[in-house]
Amino acid sequence: MTVARHRDLPVQSRLRIVAIGARWGDFILEKTLYEQYGGFSAVSRIVMDLYDRLLDDDDIGPFFDDVAMPRVIDHQTKFVSSLMGGPASYTDDQIRKMHDHLPITGDHFAKLAVILRETLTDHGVAEEHADAVVGEFAARRDLVVNG
């Protein structure tokens, strides 16, 4: 699996800024975690696993009881992609509106953070990168928790 490669690299190599796309000049772009961990083909496995874990969880799962499968999948795909720097991003307003009708408590949020971290590390995401992703997630706590 592509993600295994990154564990073998020293931390500095994994975190270094990579220069790409310099054909037109000297544009320096930082490689996102999404790219570092193999793009869609690798991240899709994380998404599917997270989908299974969330639906199987008795605390988080009920939030998806009445939501159609394509919508849940769409949500998870964009959720993981946005946290890892993939091709999706949400504004704070969008996040707030998406969750304002749900009675999400601090416990729910904390549980999701645990499941997210476990899923990432089980798929070979390095601890410090999982910290970064969960940190991104935690930064949006006030937009989501309303119960």
Binding site: A22, W24, S44, A68, I73, T77
Partner: protein, 348 residues
Amino acid sequence: MSIEAINEQLLRAIGVGVALLDLGELRFRFFNDTFKEWFGDIAVGQQIAELFPTLDTDAMRTALDGEGRYSTENSFRLKRRTMSVAMTANRALDNGQEIAVLVCQNVSRIKELESMIDSYSMMVERNTREIKREKEQVEKLLLNMMPRSVYEEYKTFGVVTPRHYGEVAVLALDFAGFAEIVGGQDPGVVVSELNDIYTAFDRIGDQFGCERIKTVGDTYITVAGMPDPAENAVAAIASTAMRFVRYLEQRNRSHPLDWKCRIGVSSGSVIGSVVGVQKYIYDVFGPAVIDASRLRQHAAPMGIACDAHVAEALGDKFALTANGEADLGDGPVPIFALSATMDAGSGA
């Protein structure tokens, strides 16, 4: 263990849902463990329509009576999951009785993956559109900074080879009293006016095949005869200069600010290249550029000054007047004033 017993054990254990139905009323006669696990509370003798309310049993019966085979897909909720099952029923005989063998495959994961690919595709397509838009903006910006052929070279190779252009005509323009205008007007007004004027100059230049090289404050430099050579580069730049003056005259009549340009026109060889690494610009250098800039200083407000070389190339098609001598760097040389209003021939 008999073969029959082994078969039954296998049938019960496999990960495919299998059931036998009476063909008449489509009632269950048998179902394996996987089938029961998926569909829960089910009993022998129950009709299939009770288990799958959305199943078109009439179509199923018609197909089994006809071709003997019926395939469909069915989705249902199992706890909080959407389970999708591909069902195939085949007509068979069991001890002389007509039955249907129902085989169900769990295609939920395939459906979930399809949904994820749909979601991802939409994200990527949206991003691709945004990248395309940004690329077009960058291209537009770079095309404002350099000729298209130079831009194509830069895009392909990442560098531009400095190039010598043999015979080009150069126009250098500035505004008399520009410092006073800047000092006495609102900065926004000055910039807006300059934008307006330079845009008009660019359009006029385009009509005569000129390529604007740069503007530095009130200095505007454009060339004819590069990157593609032109036989009438000097006439093109002279016509452009005349129209610049006429445009400003007309503009000044209807605008509060009075812009008085001074134009120098020269010709000769230049070098064109992209200069700089981080902050790059396309620039031209050479005696023709220097001469045009110096001639500009000898032009009257709303006047056009040119050297003997240009005057000779223009011939009698343009209204030229000898205007004494000026030192352009190598001692005094004759200079000429080109009239913006008197058309001596077809060239203007």
